[in-house]
Amino acid sequence: MLLFNSFLYCGFVCMIAQIILDNSKLSTGHITSIFVCIGAFLDTFNIYDYIVRIVGGGALLPIISFGHSLVHGAIIRSHANGIIGLLMGMFDMTATGITASIIFAFVFSLIFKPKN
């Protein structure tokens, strides 16, 4: 059931983005920025945790989940360290993705040459 739900959810988010892209003058950079802000908003009142529980892994893949995990790490750290914890824990849960994509981008740009 989780498999089917993640297919529907991830496809639905991508379809919304494609409809916005086709019917407005926004570029993909605008749309991804808007989606990250939406994800941060959804986690403010624990809505996205509920979505993750229902949908499963498909909810972790869209870029909405990036804003969700930024807020989530900040909130968890702020339980222990107060208001400074918001700044300390910001990257707690997204550090894996950002670090991995920096390292892979660096290594592959050294190895491969652009085609055109």
């Binding site: 991508c14 990250v36 869209p62 807020v71 894996t96 592959f108 652009p114």
Partner: protein, 151 residues
């Protein structure tokens, strides 16, 4: 007045000669390809949970790592760009789009040197996501901290 009439007429003619883009077809393709990406993500998580006995959060991290690796490798080899132009938002909105934009900008500026090429241009496209993500989540985190009292 004359200029306005001319510009409206020009717009009409330009609209008639625009390349025909089927929006419903595009949305359908994005739905299917994005759905397949989400399906694969959940499938990988369940496989890791069952076969390597990882916890569910660790399996999620490993799944995201694998998707980033595949997207970067595909961009390096050159076939991921073709897939992105074919499936559009189905591959841009998942985390693969983030990795793709970083690797492609790093590869494009490789010829300007290691420091001022790769180092300073790697976040050219992906930087917007990080900046607006940090600013908005700081704001919303502060909001929740003040309203909920840190709960």
């Amino acid at each position: 007045m004359v200029i306005n009439m001319k510009s409206t007429k020009y717009n009409k003619v330009a609209d008639r000669h625009k390349p025909f883009e089927n929006r419903i077809y595009n949305a359908f393709v994005a739905f299917i390809s994005g759905g397949v990406v989400g399906f694969l993500g959940e499938l990988l998580i369940e496989v890791f949970c069952k076969w390597i006995q990882l916890s569910r959060s660790d399996a999620g991290m490993l799944m995201i790592l694998i998707f980033i690796f595949l997207a970067s490798l595909g961009t390096g080899l050159g076939f991921f760009d073709k897939l992105v132009t074919k499936f559009k938002c189905g591959l841009i909105i998942p985390i693969t789009g983030f990795a793709h934009s970083m690797t492609s900008s790093a590869m494009d500026y490789r010829k300007e040197g290691l420091v001022y090429g790769i180092g300073s241009n790697m976040f050219k496209l992906a930087g917007t996501v990080i900046v607006y993500g940090i600013v908005s989540s700081w704001f919303f985190g502060l909001l929740r901290y003040l309203i909920g009292g840190g709960a």
